[in-house]
Structures are given as C-alpha cells and as structure tokens.
Amino acid sequence: MVGTIGILSILLIFLITQYKHIKQLKERKWVYLFVLVTAGISLFLSLPFSFNGLTEYLNMTVGYLTKMVVS
C-alpha cells in the first residue's frame, strides 16, 4: 500500500508541476499513456495479484536450459 501511494503521489506531483511543458510537447500522448500505465501497474503493489508467475515460468523454461548446461 505504501508503494502504491508513493508512486501515485509522485505521478500526481509530476503532472501538476510539468503540465505546461507536457502540453507543449509533441509526444504528450506518450507521456499521458506512460503515466496511466505506471499508475495502473503500481496498483499491483497493494493487490494480492502478482506478475511473479511470468518470471517463474521463464525460470522453469529458459532457466532449465542453463540448468542443463551447468549441472
């Protein structure tokens, strides 16, 4: 929960302080998209879901090749 609040606060401060600069930017859509994605993913810090499955899957499949070489 602390992590999510921290990230959302930093993003909010960033948007408020840099609003004028973002408005003049050509790639402002990208900035807003990144802010939205970051805010969305930061929710996973406090929710009981995790992306850990992806890493464990990679460790089991790709990592298995290294295991075969090393052991």
Binding site: G3, L11, V31, V37, T38, F44, N52, G63, T66, V70
Partner: protein, 356 residues
C-alpha cells in the same frame, strides 16, 4: 546540444558497467560450479569478450561512423529496440539486486517498495542531467572504489589462507571452468551497449583501445574480488552465501576501532551501482525516445523510471526467484540478445560507407 565524453571516461564507464552489479551475487554461483578454481574464470572469459569487441569494431572507425549518422535506417531502429529491451532486463535485474541487498544489509525494516521508489527518484535526477553528468559521477566514484578494491588484499592480509586458492586439477576441472565461463559471459557481454554511445565519444582513434581497457579493468577488479573472497572465506562459505563479497569485507579487522570498515566500503560501492543504473536508465530512454542523443525533453523519464521500479518489485516474489532469474534465465537471454546485437552491429558497420 549533443553531449560528449572522452575515451578515458568511456573506459571507466565500460569498467563500471560490467563490474558494479556482477560483484553482488555472481561469485556465489561461479564458486558453486568451479569451486576453488573460480578465480581463473575471468581469464577465460576475457579473450572471448575482447575478440567479440574487436569483431564488432572491425577496421578503422566505421563502427563509430555507423552510429554518428543522423538519418537512422530501419536496421538502426531494430538495433535500438533490441538494445532497449536488453537494457530493460538488465535494469530490472540490477535494481532488484540493489534493493534486496540494501534491504538485507542496511535497512532491514524498510519495505522494499519504498527503497525502490527512493532509488528510482535518485536515478531519475541523475539520468535527466544527461550522459556527461552520469559519466563524471561514474569516474569519480569508480576511481575511489577501484583503489579500495586494490587495497582489499592488504587489508585482509591476516585472514588470507593461500591453501584456499591453490588450483586443484581433476578430471572435471576444464568442464567446470567452462560452465562457469558460460555463466560469467553474459554479464561481461553487457559491454556491447557502448556501441550505442560511440556517437558521443569525442576522439575517433582511441575508442577501441578505451573499450578494451575498460573491459580489462572491470574483469581484473572482479578477479581480485573473487580470489580475495575465496582466499579469505574458503570455497564452502563463498558458494553458500548470497553476498560473499559483503561477508568477505566484514572480515576486515585492522584494529579494534576499525572493525566496521564494511559499512564504509558499502557506502563507497553504492554510488557506483547507482551510476550504473543511471546510465542504463539514460540508455533505455535514449533507445526508445531519443536516438540521436541530443538534449531533448526528459519528461518521459519520470513515468518510465517509476514503471521499471514497480516491475522490479512485482516480477520477483522474493529474493530466491530473483537469484534464479539472474543465474539461470538471464544467462540464456543475455547470450541470445548479445549475439543478436553483435550481428546487428556488424551489419550496420558493413553497410556504412567509409567516410575517410
């Protein structure tokens, strides 16, 4: 305005890039595989890395010219996208390693999310200033760390046991050393990212030499750390502890009032690691949003650094998953991506007209 660095600064950037993160946990897995002969592994990997760099550079300064061009071809874009993905993996892996180490050694009661966010804000501040600032910070801090590591064998003279590092040759020695080299190679091959920074180096002639000096310095310091930790702790402790170098520097006991030098050395190492992460973040931003390396808007860097910090936390449930990723998954992914990047560098170089 485009920012420039000198060949000397490039050499130290290379050395720092391959050395700063590999010293955290890598000696453990290497020692697990090749026991007390592990200190020989850097000497086996060194010629391979140098030969690959020489192949990448080729003759003359075509490699540099291919990255100096303002008009980027589709091959350039493919190179930068691959490089960006490669750097994202390195950044997430290193940031999590740094956060886990800080959490375990220095701030055990602080949540890792908070450490990750604070580190990301610091990195954001450094990276936004550009390549020149990142380089100056790296040079100052790396020289201090280098001198500290060179003095480690003298500080630990009373703890060193030479029998721990005596080479033992058996039937499996060559096989074990080859397996260790396989583990170490992708960590050292990270130096390939410097092809993307060639456009920012002022001199044209000494670049290749500077890169090789950087690789030599980084590998020599890693060798010194591995041999000192095995000599002091023995292969059993090194192969079982997650942070063998940290345990090794805890053995420094010069006098009664200087028995906590480990904290000072960790404080010297931290800025070096931060400058590596800052350079990685800078290169990720550049690879995706600013190919020519000009001082343009850094507004995308804030959400980008926070996003990567969140991913570094949620992608690894605990330290074990992260270690498995670093030791097993990264080895294959790293070798595959480095080979692909090298092929792209060679193709880009061959396609560039000689600008003599």
């Amino acid at each position: 305005m485009k920012q420039f660095i000198s060949p000397f600064q490039l050499a130290l950037l290379v050395a720092n890039f391959i050395f700063a993160a590999s010293l955290i946990t890598l000696p453990q897995i290497l020692t697990q595989i090749s026991n007390q002969n592990t200190w020989m592994v850097p000497f086996l990997v060194y010629p391979i890395v140098v030969v690959l760099l020489l192949i990448g550079f080729g003759r003359g300064n075509k490699a540099q010219s291919s990255f100096l061009t303002e008009q980027k071809s589709s091959l350039h874009h493919l190179f930068y996208i691959t490089l960006g993905l490669f750097l994202i993996i390195i950044y997430i892996r290193d940031l999590r390693a740094f956060v886990d180490f800080t959490s375990r050694a220095l701030l055990p009661t602080t949540p890792i999310e908070v450490i990750a966010i604070l580190v990301s804000v610091v990195l954001l501040y450094i990276s936004s200033a550009g390549i020149e600032v990142v380089t100056r910070i790296t040079v100052i801090q790396f020289i201090v760390l280098g001198v500290t590591i060179l003095s480690l064998p003298f500080m630990l003279l009373n703890e060193i046991e030479l029998s721990h590092i005596t080479p033992i040759f058996g039937a499996d020695t060559v096989q074990d050393l080859s397996k260790s080299s396989f583990e170490l190679f992708p960590w050292m091959g990270e130096c390939l990212i410097f092809f993307s920074l060639l456009g920012n180096v002022t001199a044209k002639k000494r670049v290749r030499r500077a890169t090789i000096i950087g690789v030599s310095t980084g590998l020599f310091l890693l060798f010194l750390l591995i041999i000192t930790s095995i000599a002091v702790l023995g292969e059993n402790i090194v192969s079982k502890s997650i942070y063998p170098n940290y345990i090794m520097i805890q053995q420094i006991n010069i006098t009664d009032f200087m028995d906590r030098l480990d904290l000072i050395i960790v404080i010297i190492w931290m800025p070096v690691m931060l400058s590596k992460l800052a350079l990685t973040l800078y290169c990720i931003h550049r690879a995706f949003f600013n190919l020519n390396g000009r001082a343009t808007s850094n507004l995308l860097m804030t959400p980008l650094s926070l996003l990567l910090a969140v991913l570094a936390i949620i992608l690894f449930e605990n330290n074990t998953v992260h270690l498995e990723f670093s030791f097993l998954t990264w080895t294959i992914i790293g070798i595959a991506m480095e080979c692909f990047l090298l092929i792209l560098i060679i193709v880009l170089r061959v396609r560039t007209k000689d600008n003599k």
